[in-house]
């Protein structure tokens, strides 16, 4: 058995990873829940968040500006993608947006290589967060604690946005019964645009947050988007609570397997998914038959 402090450190590492999964999965789940669009480009947009971060950091020398502007840039790109590309596919098979965003992610991944080169880049955390924090029972990199705090804050903000504001109400209603919402005279097209922008901005935020830990490289989003799909399948599609719980769960699974059997870490993610499919096919928090 490893020492308790090693174990705890790994639990924290798993928490950090889990938080990134949660942020990605919530964005995917929001978009899917409202628009039944599976955004394959989510991983590529996550990657772009990190690269925009590198770019802005080099340009402004200010991490905080980059942290705010990079997700906005990704979100703006998301708005364009929805408005000019995905919008054309409404009314066609739900497979079509998935295929289109797959094509887009190829373009983005190769495009990034043209602009920033094939070799990955590093992203420095701000000086204030460069050190480690002594938590009493162990020390932990300050930046990672900051990352967890930011994501928790974003989740709380999302909770109030969706639960307490008018547009949040429309979004939730739109996922449940788009026809009725339309009948009440609400222009769902604009809501879709907003939600797609919001979801992709969250992917961008995840990217720049992960950057200082994992660097920025063109293929960084591919594994992440596949694993975020797993998180959604485990949590139950369309359930935001499910995305949070499953994201944290998968983070712990990866963190702890890395400690005990490093070779199995990536494989275990999919094993958890297989078990959930066997025992509870609709996911931990999913309603059977919803959005199928």
């Amino acid at each position: 058995m490893p020492e308790l402090s090693t174990l705890l450190a790994q639990v924290f590492t798993g928490l950090v990873l889990g938080m990134i999964y949660v942020l990605l999965a919530i964005g995917l789940s929001l978009i899917f829940g409202l628009m039944t669009v599976v955004n394959f480009a989510h991983g590529a947009l996550y990657m772009l968040g990190a690269y925009f971060g590198v770019f802005l950091l080099g340009y402004t020398r200010n991490f905080w500006v980059a942290l705010i502007v990079a997700p906005l840039m990704v979100g703006a790109l998301g708005l364009l993608i929805e408005r000019f590309l995905i919008r054309r596919l409404y009314g066609r098979s739900p497979d079509d947006p998935l295929l289109l965003t797959f094509g887009l992610s190829l373009i983005l991944i190769e495009g990034v290589k043209v602009f920033w080169g094939k070799i990955g880049l590093t992203l420095d955390p701000p000086r204030a967060l460069a050190g480690a924090v002594d938590l009493g029972f162990m020390t932990f990199p300050a930046y990672r604690l900051f990352l967890v705090a930011v994501i928790v804050a974003v989740l709380i903000a999302l909770y109030f946005f969706l639960g307490r504001t008018n547009i949040g109400l429309i979004i939730r209603a739109g996922s449940r019964d788009p026809l009725m919402v339309r009948a009440l005279g609400i222009d769902l097209g604009r809501v879709w645009l907003v939600v797609f922008g919001l979801g992709t901005a969250l992917a961008g935020l995840a990217g720049i947050l992960a950057g200082p830990m994992r660097g920025a490289y063109a293929e960084m989003g591919v594994t992440m988007v596949i694993e975020s799909f797993v998180v959604i399948v485990v949590g139950g599609m369309g359930s935001l609570l499910g995305a949070v719980v499953a994201g944290l769960l998968i983070g712990q699974v990866v963190g702890l397997t890395t400690l005990f059997v490093p070779k199995l870490a990536e494989i275990m993610v999919f094993m958890v998914m297989a078990v959930v499919l066997l025992v509870r096919p609709s996911g931990l928090f999913g309603e059977a038959g919803l959005l199928e």
Binding site: F32, T36, V38, L85, R88, L89, R92, P94, D95, D96, L98, L99, L100, F102, G103, L104, S105, L106, I107, I109, E110, G111, K113, V114, V222, T223, I226, F229, V230, I232, V233, M237, K263, L264, E266, I267, F270, M271, M273, A274, L277, L278, P281, S282, L291, E292
Partner: protein
């Protein structure tokens, strides 16, 4: 255009015969003969994918799994277990891919709709990691090397597959048999049920069909075609790179099929040819050729969802699924 359509319709009427006739001269009309073999193999892979997507309506984003299982199945049998016979090698690849398809299909079919695509992708990624870490058997990152190029025994005759053209005609016969088998499947009552599921699965249930079993069987057949393609590619290259199992392979199959025309009999071969020619030409001009292919593919999804062959023959889910 109308002449092309008439030609396509004639080909569509006797697809198996058209395959035998067209592909016998194919190596002499493409830029190079290596590409001719690649078209056969990737066409077969895309054809397997098309059985599932174009005819059953299930979008798989994980056909790398069965292609890779086929390749490793044949490769391991020949290079690690030294079975010493091409036939046994091919059979092992086919069997492994079929088994993989049966198991993974069982899991993936527990969710319907768009989940299915995500699950197939996830399970393919699982196999990629397994292949990566089982380096004793698969060679891991270096790929599986040392697959012997045996001569083919056909009773008293010996046939060498060492030359490019020799291999081409070996693949031609096997892929042709697979094409005939697919045609037989699609023309059977089972094939009609597949298309009924694609068109309206609730009605297929109401007609008394056990659609879960039919879908599962279609999944296994599809995996077998992909597995045969993988085994053939392992013999052709005498090495199995780990990328066979990677998501990029799955993506390639999806792109080929859609470029050619999903739900059409020849679309996968048309698409494989288009994709490989584009890849060859573009990679001479720019390193970033995937951008161009990605853009072309996206444009097809937006503006030409029936693909090339589908537009000629009247298309995806059209009356004539030739």
């Amino acid at each position: 255009m109308s002449a092309l359509r008439a030609f396509a319709a004639r080909v569509g009427a006797r697809p198996v015969l058209a395959f035998w006739v067209f592909f016998v001269v194919f190596p002499f009309i493409v830029p190079n003969r290596t590409m001719a073999t690649q078209v056969l193999i990737f066409g077969l892979l895309a054809m397997g994918f098309n059985l599932l997507y174009g005819y059953t309506g299930l979008l798989s984003f994980g056909h790398a799994a069965y292609y890779g299982l086929g390749a490793y199945g044949a490769g391991i049998a020949l290079a690690k277990l030294h079975v010493g016979s091409l036939w046994v090698g091919l059979a092992s690849g086919l069997l492994l891919a079929g088994l993989g398809g049966a198991v993974i299909g069982f899991f993936c079919l527990r969710r319907r709709g768009i989940y299915f695509a995500m699950l197939t992708l996830a399970f393919a990624q699982l196999l990629y990691f397994v292949g990566f870490h089982l380096a004793d058997w698969t060679g891991g990152d270096d790929g599986l090397r040392g697959i012997p190029q045996l001569t083919l025994g056909l009773g008293p005759w010996q046939y060498s597959i060492e030359t490019t053209l020799g291999f081409y005609y070996f693949a031609y016969v096997l892929v042709g048999l697979a094409v005939a088998a697919l045609k037989r499947i699609l023309d059977s009552p089972f094939g009609a049920v597949l298309q009924a599921i694609r068109e309206n699965s609730s009605r297929a249930v109401a007609c008394g069909y056990n659609i879960d079993r039919v879908k599962h069987l279609s999944f296994v057949f599809s995996a077998c075609f992909a597995g045969l393609a993988g085994s053939l590619d392992a013999l052709r290259l005498t090495v199995v790179p780990i990328e066979s199992l990677y998501w990029t392979t799955s993506g390639q199959v999806v792109m080929m099929t859609l470029l050619g025309g999903a739900g059409t009999f020849f679309g996968p071969f048309v698409g494989a040819t288009t994709f490989l020619v584009l890849e060859e030409r573009l990679s001479l001009i720019t390193e970033s050729w995937p951008i161009v292919i990605g853009a072309i593919f996206s444009a097809f999804v937006l503006f030409l969802p029936k693909g090339i062959w589908g537009t000629l023959t009247g298309g995806i889910y059209g009356r004539q699924s030739a």
